[in-house]
Symmetry: C2
Subunit: 181 residues, 2 copies
């Protein structure tokens, strides 16, 4: 951030009066530009004994598999955002959404919220951000080609929980980047 | 938003290529300035049969009672943020945090996350954003002076749950502003 979005003035990193940490503050109009964590919302759509995955058509992790998810938009709920992303990436409608996993990823200032849900009628397609989409049983999941640690952890938790037929919500923190393979 | 924070150029509200909704885009450098929902994190600290509330020293709702909560900061987890706010506003240390209520408030693009927790040693004080702080039993809570609907709903849910001795997590959407009294 180099210029004030309100007046076009120059920006300095300093502690505003009454605050206790550095913020981007305008040298001319004193406007404080807060930068906040971002929320990623997604779904784990289930149909019979299978889960719906998307092969990424975009960076990062182009060509690897993920759950439908993306940045929450203004004016929607987390549940609506998760359903919207599932439509956008996999042309799938979902129901019976319940919050299943929250991941705090503080080193990139992100919060992930995954909803466990049913894939309506088993129908899905391929949205513009996906190369392909597919329903996989546990043994069919391409475990060595999963795009993100939060996705792998959510999938493994789901298949474990299904054996117990209990699906408790959990909050987890991811403290460091995945080590290189 | 009037000026590009990257190059100082003018901003237009338009749909970027490959997107499906209006964004603030720079006319000069094409930088897309996303505006995302914000996360508010807080605690419901419990000590014996009492809950810890804070009387607000700041607007909005100056002089009304609330749970310790505030905007999540970059570089922290939701749990850490909730504990930090509880220290800042009520000089209280907490433990045994568990996610208890998520509120989507889409008309102001906010997500609230309240953690149920224990107030360590029953100790607390008054932070700079509070006029006073206090432990209240259910009948002592100043129910007609609660600052925000999400706070009242969280408190009522807690006292109901305590009668059952079960504290399930729930996600709720607040769809409209509280009607005027």
């Amino acid at each position: 951030m180099k210029f004030c979005s309100e007046c076009g003035g120059g920006i300095a990193l300093r502690v505003p009066k009454g605050d206790d940490r550095d913020r981007f503050v305008c040298n001319d109009c004193d406007y404080v530009h807060y930068i906040n964590p971002r929320v990623i919302v997604g779904c784990l759509p289930v149909y019979e004994d299978k889960v719906l995955l998307c092969k990424r058509a975009i960076e990062p992790r182009h060509g690897l598999w993920t759950l439908p998810a993306g940045f929450m938009e203004n004016g929607e709920t987390t549940e609506e955002g998760a359903a919207r992303e599932t439509w956008e990436e996999a042309r799938a409608r979902v129901s019976h959404q319940r919050l299943y996993r929250v991941f705090d990823v503080p080193y990139i200032s992100q919060v992930y919220m995954f909803y466990l849900c049913s894939l309506d009628d088993g129908l899905f397609g391929v949205g513009p951000e996906s190369l392909e989409t597919a329903l996989y049983t546990e043994s069919e999941v391409p475990w060595d080609q999963i795009a993100f640690p939060v996705v792998e952890e959510t999938l493994r938790a789901y298949f474990d929980d299904r054996r117990r037929d209990e699906f408790p919500m959990a909050v987890k923190a991811i403290r460091s980047r995945r080590p290189p393979a």
